[in-house]
Point group: C2
Chain length 131, copies 2
DNA sequence: ATTTGACTTCGAGTGCACTCGAAGGTTTAA
DNA sequence: TTAAACCTTCGAGTGCACTCGAAGTCAAAT
């Protein structure tokens, strides 16, 4: 058995993005390795799906398209493992900082929630007794 | 002593946003309580700065402008404490989910980092001995 | 008296990341 | 053989959240 390939709709379903987005990513250079069948239809290999997967992880952790392009370029250079590592480690740091920032802001919101809870508690204490 | 007010530049510096953004927020209805001096200059009260602060917390945790508008409207209704509470609690849930999602994606990225580290380790083990 | 600099409104422009739709080619099923 | 259900390219459109700049007003300093 040869390596199975997926068409664009299957790849889209598998990766949880739209086919439109997969075409867009390819045309801006994020996915340079997608091959075509005799009709010009895209064929997504296991490798391609892996590339889509990591790119979406980067996107979903806030990396802008420009950063994703840099990583995609490094994926094309098999000797660029240290550079990939550096990019990912820098990004990991950025994401960790982003999580901390979210947690800080979340705490401020929770403080506000507590204040509002006390306010409504004050009102509810005026409710008539059960008797 | 009367309540001190800040001009737009001071408010911007204090809140870490641009004066442009403060005017934008006001004109889209996020800040309906800003008063003006005799020249039409904006005066930011303590209350206004508090409103800006919570709105920015909401923004920085991913709430879209539409949601911020809803909260700003509730701030105008002093009887709407339970509604404010509900909005903030829903948002808190959304932020907690976002943090979990970030952590999941971060783990996937860290797995990739580990793989790359092993690859480079393989190469570095070919280094000549110190003797 | 005039220059500096901070403020005002208003509408237009920017950057990002898609998202869509038109026009056309191919395979599949009725 | 013709209709449906895919796929293709291409350029244009969308939504979001600002961001900017022009034209004008006003107060303080030179």
């Amino acid at each position: 058995m040869s390596a199975p390939t997926l068409n664009i709709q299957q790849a889209a379903t598998h990766s949880k993005v739209s086919a439109h987005t997969l075409r867009y990513y390819e045309r801006i250079g994020l996915l340079p390795t997608i091959t075509r069948d005799s009709n010009g239809y895209r064929q997504y290999s296991e490798y391609d799906l892996g590339a889509v997967n990591i790119l979406l992880r980067l996107r979903d952790t806030g990396m802008p398209i420009q950063g994703m392009k840099r990583f995609a370029a490094l994926l094309q250079d098999e000797t660029a493992i240290p550079e990939r590592l550096e990019l990912l480690e820098q990004h990991r740091k950025a994401v960790e900082e982003r999580i901390l920032e979210l947690q800080t802001n979340l705490e401020a919101i929770e403080t506000k929630i507590q204040i509002y809870r006390k306010t409504t508690k004050g009102f509810s204490s005026c409710k008539p007794s059960s008797k």
